[in-house]
């Protein structure tokens, strides 16, 4: 049998062929992801149609946008019947949207600088890889920001800072005598220094002073930022204390915390703002009147601490019992075991929840517009929409508000997801 009897023998390997066009590249992707079946094909086509309608409506509106008119009627004249947004309301009212309508315009650099410093000083808290020395700036930031935004002599925040520092030193010196005694002593020293400091700053109101700005002049997006940052940072310690109280073995303390938390969580924030607006004054000593923004800060802080307490409680409950028992078996007392063993772990677990509360709280700061404070929403609804120049303009202003809040809240929630991934890696 010779080779020639076989009809065909291949001697060389065939070159590789490209996969069928339906099984590779963009066609396969399209088939898998956009047109996998009749139902999905219809869905895709409908979605594309609506996207097209949306974009074809919105794009000319952006392109033809007018940025330089000084009123709505002038803007309409420029557009002359064509579709287009009057973005000039944003350029003309830019400062009002950001700072409110009463903040002195020559002092706009102060809140702007405070905002920039906020970003710098919060960075080492958010990203643990940054140099730890930046944390000093974080500690000093509240006092710098207070001085920048509210103005007045630098002695006021300096004395408050001095009080905290003296209190810390006193606490540190007496810590060997037990946590409770040392804490009491530290608080006493702090209050003493504040009391002395109030005389000093009252005696010299012009030392390195900025023009003072009263709280009621704060407004615009700045007010949202102030309320958000102040209330979140104040509510963290209170929330942790409430959570510890709720987990406590002492029935009276536990019930005080439970009732407080459940009461606050059961009512809408708006009723608490009503309390700040009209009720709180009845419960203060006659003759005292402190301004609305401070009362609102107190109520929002109470609100936020109740929510943070629940998040932290979740973290505390998620820790295995062994951690508590291990801390006890080392002979640590309650304060030590919480500070050194329990809270560091529990807080780490509850960071995503805390960030969620922070985002929710920041969104809720818009509610102050209901009690006639002029935050971003209040500015848009009040002075801007009511003005003769811009009466009747909606999309541009609300779109601006949506964009501002979206940027802040979306970046915070993305950060929280990133952090969650980082922490997961640690546990592996």
């Amino acid at each position: 049998m010779s080779k020639s009897e076989l009809a065909f023998v291949r001697h060389e390997i065939l070159p590789e062929q490209a996969p069928p066009v339906t099984e590779a590249g963009i066609v396969k992707w399209l088939r898998d992801n956009l047109f996998p079946g009749p139902v999905n094909t219809v869905l895709t086509l409908v979605a594309i149609y609506f996207l097209f309608k949306l974009l074809s409506g919105a794009m000319p509106w952006f392109w033809n946008g007018v940025w330089t008119a000084s009123s709505l009627s002038e803007c309409r004249e420029i557009l002359d019947g064509a579709t287009g947004g009057c973005f000039s309301v944003l350029t003309e009212r830019w400062n009002q949207l950001l700072f409110g309508f009463k903040y002195p315009s020559e002092a706009y650099w102060r809140p702007t600088l405070a905002f920039a410093l906020l970003l710098v000083s919060i960075a080492p808290v958010l990203f643990s890889k940054l140099p730890r020395k930046l944390l000093i700036l974080t500690l000093l930031y509240p006092f710098i920001a207070f001085w920048l935004i509210w103005g007045g002599t630098i002695l006021t925040p300096l004395m408050i800072l001095l009080g905290f520092a003296a209190g810390y030193v006193a606490f540190h010196r007496t810590e060997a005598k037990g946590f409770g005694t040392a804490a009491l002593f530290g608080v006493a020293v702090t209050v003493l220094v504040w009391w002395l400091g109030s005389y000093i700053s009252a005696a010299a109101p012009n030392v390195v002073a900025l023009t003072p700005v009263p709280s009621r002049d704060m407004g615009g997006f700045m007010l949202n930022m102030i309320l958000g940052t102040v209330c979140v940072s104040l509510s963290l310690p209170f929330g942790i204390l409430l959570a510890l109280g709720r987990q406590s073995d002492m029935p009276i303390i536990k019930w005080i915390c439970v009732i407080f938390i459940e009461f606050i969580r059961g009512v809408p924030l708006i009723t608490l703002l009503f309390v700040a607006n009209v009720v709180l004054a009845y419960f203060l000593p006659p003759g005292t009147s402190f301004d609305l923004i401070l009362r609102v800060i107190i109520m929002i802080t109470m609100f936020a601490s109740a929510y943070i307490a629940e998040v932290v409680r979740g973290g505390l409950a998620a820790l295995p019992r062994g951690q508590y028992e291990a801390a006890n078996s080392l002979g640590l007392d309650y304060a030590q075991s919480m500070r050194l063993i329990i809270l560091p772990q529990a807080l780490k677990i509850s960071i995503p929840g805390i960030v969620n509360v922070a985002v929710g709280l920041f969104k809720d700061t818009t509610l102050v517009s209901v009690i006639s404070m002029f935050d971003l929403v209040g500015m848009i609804r009040g002075p801007i929409l009511a003005s003769t120049e811009w009466n009747g303009i909606y999309w541009e202003l609300w779109g601006f508000a949506v964009v501002l809040f979206f940027i802040v809240c979306y970046s915070i929630s993305q950060y929280s997801q990133w952090l969650e991934r980082q922490l997961q890696r640690d546990h592996r």
Partner: protein
């Protein structure tokens, strides 16, 4: 062992109150209680002093006085001569109305979006993700105001419906969507309609009874009874038969254009519609995330195991995936309902007269009874949220994994 403790008990020192763990918790609680009582006494004395200075007192008599203001959207009879109490009740009903309708719409949208976020279709998945992120990250107050402006600006005014060749027309001659609000047909119940409604309720109960019977047959006798068609039949047939026997006692009153406005039918103001819609789509974004998380939490092995047992896809969903997913979805879902109810207090921003608008708004401003009104308002919301948490606890106990 007994002698040292006995001797220590004899020589009780004051410092033991702080340093001895046996007494320390009592000391702390006593101090806390004392501080709390002092705080309340301080606030109370301030309150008494302030009220005396202002010539006021705490009294709820204003609830019985005529309110003197009108409420344009109401579920029960009310006029400006009615009492503040009745105005508050109107507000409470309005709150409950928008909360319940909002929860229903939010659940529907949320479940659909949550399922679509897991769809095979890339475009749909992305659009749903964009929807969820945009709505979750912008305050609900802004959404309420935006939707109110959109409705007012885009929808036609009632006058546009007039004339031979109008700019706008009604949907099936029954629904009119205007910038002032939506008009729906209104059912009018005449004599005999009670029997029709009773029949309807009875047939729904009948469906449940039949399904229980079918299940019992399946488990005890092993007979598989048809479920779907008998249920549909029970749902429709008796009520339609009864409807015609009683001589069609339920008729629809359609809205119709008279002069410059619509008459008849149900009129839902755009304040209500925009609040309802905004709350629903805002909350739906959160519900969608819960639904997605719940479905993803059921491991793929469960579906595969069920398939290898020979279950059909529908049954896999009903008997294996959903029971496990619902256990995860429902608790956060209920707390979203609670959030929606609390957010409905933002009605005051668009002028929908819910309980915050009547009791906490106009009544408070007219009578100046700030403390009493705000307290009642808080108690109302507190009662609702405690009721909802009670329901949630009952549910959680019912679905808790029963361990040995």
């Amino acid at each position: 062992m007994s002698s040292p403790s006995a001797s220590r008990a004899e020589s009780f020192k004051l410092s033991q109150l702080f340093n001895d763990t046996r007494y320390r918790s009592y000391t702390f609680q006593f101090i806390a209680l004392l501080l709390l009582i002092m705080l309340f006494a301080y606030l109370g004395s301030n309150l008494a002093q302030n009220l005396r200075d202002a010539g006021l007192n705490i009294s709820y008599q204003f609830l019985g006085e005529p309110a003197g203001y009108d409420i344009n959207q109401r579920l029960i009879e009310y006029d400006s001569q009615s009492t503040h109490m009745r105005a508050s009740v109107v507000g409470v009903l309005n709150t409950l109305l928008v909360a319940i309708l909002g929860c229903i719409l939010a659940t529907v949208i949320g479940v659909v979006v949550g399922v679509l976020r897991l769809s095979q279709n890339w475009l749909i998945r992305k659009i749903m993700a964009v929807y969820v992120e945009i709505f979750r990250n912008v305050p609900v107050l802004i959404w309420i105001l935006i939707i109110l402006s959109v409705f007012t600006a885009i929808l036609p005014q009632p006058r546009d419906f007039r004339g031979e060749n109008p700019d706008a027309s009604m949907l099936w001659d029954a629904f009119a969507f205007t910038g002032r609000g939506f008009y729906f047909p209104k059912p009018i119940f005449e004599v005999g309609s009670g029997i029709v409604i009773t029949t309807f309720i009875a047939s729904i109960i009948g469906i449940f009874v039949y399904r229980a019977y079918a299940r019992k047959q399946l488990y005890e006798a092993g007979r598989l009874l048809p479920i779907f068609w008998p249920s549909v039949g029970l749902f429709f047939v008796p009520v339609i038969v009864m409807f015609f026997i009683m001589g069609q006692p339920i008729v629809m009153e359609y809205p119709s254009l008279q002069g410059f406005n619509f008459q008849g039918g149900i009129f839902a103001r755009n304040s209500f519609i925009s609040l309802w819609f905004a709350l629903s789509i805002y909350t739906a974004a959160f519900i969608a995330e819960n639904v997605r998380a719940g479905i993803l939490a059921v491991s793929k092995g469960q579906t595969e195991a069920a398939a290898s047992l020979g279950l059909r896809p529908g049954r896999i969903m009903n008997l294996v995936v959903l029971p496990q997913a619902l256990r995860i979805i429902i608790p956060p879902l209920i707390s979203q309902y609670l959030n929606l109810t609390k957010n409905s207090s933002l009605a005051i921003a668009v002028g929908y007269m819910d309980v915050t608008g009547t009791l906490g708004g106009i009544t408070l401003n007219q009578t100046g009874r700030a403390i009493e009104s705000v307290l009642l308002l808080m108690l109302f919301y507190l009662a609702i949220s405690l009721a909802i948490s009670a329901v949630m606890n009952v549910y959680n106990n019912a679905v808790k994994l029963k361990e040995r």
